[in-house]
């Protein structure tokens, strides 16, 4: 029962050391690194291993943890029983296109996604149910505070440990921890609102957490946030604040109000087209499609797909398929495609349909770290569309990115006086 960590820094800087050491039942802990920490810094249950050797040392680990998105496919290739993505702030090449794309993959395949950034956390909370904010609600820790937190357990650490423990031992999804933490966050922003009065940011975040928990006051808090934003001169607040009201109404099955709220915010030509389509869905008795669209327009993919659960007509299936593909949920898209006969339709559509199927298969294989199969599918897709060759070239650029990450860890490690055991980037 081993555990593998694919980190973004050397062990001495690793922010989740304490949590790792608490997972004693999952020893040994393989720590992927090109540096050898001084022995006194390395607990005896932690074993350094290079990225090249990890597959030999540790096949099918009980748990894999990535703290930088670039590692996600490497971690997936080990076929761990459970996978965690815990992403701290200020990681290497943060918010580059590749970072964002790999982060999306983390969200997709990890059993639990955690982030230190509240905005990143919230973004993912609309895409995935098992998410954790890797900091406590009542403060944004400075660097110094974060250090001190190594000594005393923060609330999120306790929650994370329990969530991981239940996941590994009892096979319990961490969604309970997500909800528990979100209730704490509701309480936190309620207290801020009580102290400072209705407030653009506090009221908005309160509304968001209430929405995630399906609590009843989300609409009123959102509206007060919108009014404050408007009075503060936020020019785009119709879209950034008011639009969210359409999701809240849709969640509450108040479809007419939801459509009206969205309509108010439909100011661009594209939005107007979407608004018209949503109205037509409702007028044609497809409240499920209208509500799903409204949720999707508010980035609530979880809610949107849930609305279409059990709807297998061509309209609903096409929408589900499209949204799954747009959100890189290749495996689910493939499963739906097979179950709903979209592949049959694809064949009839000719090359573009077949190409899409091959691309989907390639993406899905790559997501799980099955690079050879992925390349095979991309090559087959390239027979129909030369642009697909670019996907193979992209794999090389991803390898280069991992090499940069390892070099960065190496340089950081050297600056701390650690010993290099493998300088090969390869």
């Amino acid at each position: 029962m081993s555990c593998v960590v694919f980190p973004h820094v050397s062990w001495s800087q690793f922010p989740y050391r304490k949590i790792m050491l608490d997972l004693r039942a999952r020893q040994p802990i393989f720590y992927v690194t090109d540096t050898l920490p001084e022995w006194e810094l390395l607990p005896n249950i932690v074993k350094p291993v290079t990225a090249e050797a990890v597959a030999l040392e540790c096949r099918r680990p009980a748990l894999a943890i990535v703290t930088h998105p670039y590692w996600i496919e490497k971690a997936a290739s080990l076929h761990p029983e459970r996978l965690l993505a815990l992403i701290p702030d200020n990681t290497f090449e943060e918010y580059s296109e590749l970072w964002k794309s790999r982060l999306a993959h983390c969200v997709l395949i990890a059993d639990l996604f955690g982030s230190e950034s509240e905005s990143l956390y919230l973004e993912q909370a609309f895409k995935k149910e098992a998410v954790l904010l890797l900091r406590d609600a009542d403060h944004l820790p400075s660097e110094g505070q974060r250090e001190s937190m190594q000594g005393s357990s923060a609330e999120f650490e306790v929650l994370l440990r329990q969530a991981v423990s239940k996941l590994l031992t009892d096979n319990v999804s961490p969604v309970w921890a997500t909800a528990l933490q979100q209730h704490t966050l509701v309480q936190h922003y309620s207290e801020i609102r009580k102290a400072v009065g209705p407030h653009e940011t506090a009221s908005f975040l309160l509304a968001v957490y209430e929405y995630l928990l399906k609590l009843p006051d989300a609409a009123s808090h959102l509206l007060e946030s919108f009014l404050h934003a408007q009075q503060s001169g936020r020019e785009d607040c119709i879209r950034t604040h008011y639009r969210f009201l359409s999701a809240i109404h849709a969640q509450n099955d108040e479809l007419r109000e939801a459509i009206d709220a969205y309509g108010v915010t439909a100011l661009s030509a594209d939005d107007r087209l979407r608004y018209e389509r949503i109205c037509e869905y409702a007028e044609n008795g497809r409240a499920d499609l209208a509500a799903a669209w409204l949720l999707r327009e508010n980035d609530d993919l979880v809610g949107a797909l849930a609305r279409l659960h059990g709807a297998y007509d061509s309209e609903a299936t096409d929408l589900k398929y499209r949204w799954l593909v747009e959100s890189s949920r290749w495996e689910e898209a493939l499963a739906l495609s097979g179950a709903a006969g979209i592949s049959g339709k694809a064949e009839k559509r000719g090359h573009p349909g077949i190409r899409d199927e091959r691309l989907l298969n390639g993406y899905a294989r790559k997501l799980r770290g099955d690079r050879h199969e992925a390349i095979r599918f991309f090559l087959e897709a390239a027979e129909l569309d030369q642009d697909a060759i670019g996907l193979i070239a992209r794999i090389k650029s991803e390898d280069a990115a991992i090499a940069r990450l390892r070099r960065n860890m190496l340089e950081t490690g050297e600056s701390e006086g650690l010993t290099v055991v493998n300088g090969d980037d390869g």
Partner: protein, 270 residues
């Protein structure tokens, strides 16, 4: 890449699949929030003791281009209500038993609420001493029969000492700014007014967040066009209601009594 490639794939034919329980609710026609034609325009006014002033002129003008009129009478002590009743387009007329002019935000809020019951597409907020120039009236339908913006503003002019000149100086220059008086009514959109006792904006603040159109169409404000006695009475009223200048400018109040104000002649636009 696949997402980009799938750009052309869209759900178009609306075949009914499995209907949810919400379906029945939604089956009726959805009223679009913005319409390019057939918009209903409702004018809304608050009035008080308007006998001998401009109310007849104002209602006559409004009757010529709006679909309905909504009036809240702020406990008039003269025959203002009877005057209003003579105009067939008055769809709602609320008579307050006690005046609310000392808490103007309540009056504005009430007027908005009553006006919204007429199911308008657009609302025009008018005071009992305001007349729109002919160009503005001619443009009114094109201004509301569109789906690109949700409010329209005009240039108001404070007529002074009669109907030929407007005041144009440091304290009286509203014509240099835009005043929003015409808005698309959006059901469910926040319609709160600031809780001010005087000089309350005539439309809910939140509407300013929507896209609007600034125009050079002009509106004659005749509230100061009367004789010296009427201005003196208004001066005393403002000073009594707002002695510390909490809601308006004390300097502007004092300038009401200016014996030689700078006036500019009004010329009708062709």
């Amino acid at each position: 890449m696949l997402t980009e490639m799938m750009g052309s794939r869209s759900a178009t034919d609306l075949k009914a699949g499995s209907e949810s329980s919400e379906a029945a609710v939604a089956r009726a026609t959805i009223r679009r929030v913005r319409r390019r034609s057939g918009n209903k325009l409702t004018a809304m006014l608050q009035v008080r003791n308007e006998r001998g002033k401009y109310l007849t002129q104002v209602l006559e003008q409004l009757s010529g281009f709006v679909d309905e009129l909504v009036i809240v009478d702020d406990a008039s002590e003269d025959d203002t209500v009877a005057l209003c009743r003579k105009f067939p387009k008055v769809a709602r007329l609320v008579e307050l038993p006690r005046p609310l002019f000392g808490e103007e935000w309540k009056l504005r809020s009430l007027l908005w609420q009553v006006a919204s019951t007429t199911e308008p597409d657009w609302l025009l907020s008018v005071d009992a001493d305001e007349l729109y120039e002919d160009r503005a009236i001619s443009a009114m339908r094109p201004l509301i029969d569109q789906d690109q913006y949700d409010w329209v503003s005009f240039r108001f002019h404070d007529f002074w000492n009669g109907l030929t000149h407007y005041r144009d100086d440091e304290h009286w220059n509203i014509h240099r700014r835009q005043t929003m008086t015409l808005v698309r009514y959006l059901p469910g959109f926040p319609c709160l007014y600031p809780q001010w006792d005087h000089h309350v904006p005539r439309l809910p603040l939140a509407y300013a967040a929507l896209p609007g159109r600034l125009t050079d169409f002009r509106v004659k404000h005749l509230g100061w066009a009367g004789d010296w006695e009427s201005k003196l009475a208004k001066y005393h009223r403002y000073k009594a209601l707002d002695p510390e200048g909490k809601w308006g400018s004390l300097a502007q109040y004092e300038s009401i009594l200016d014996l030689n104000p700078k006036l500019t002649e009004w010329t009708e636009a062709t």
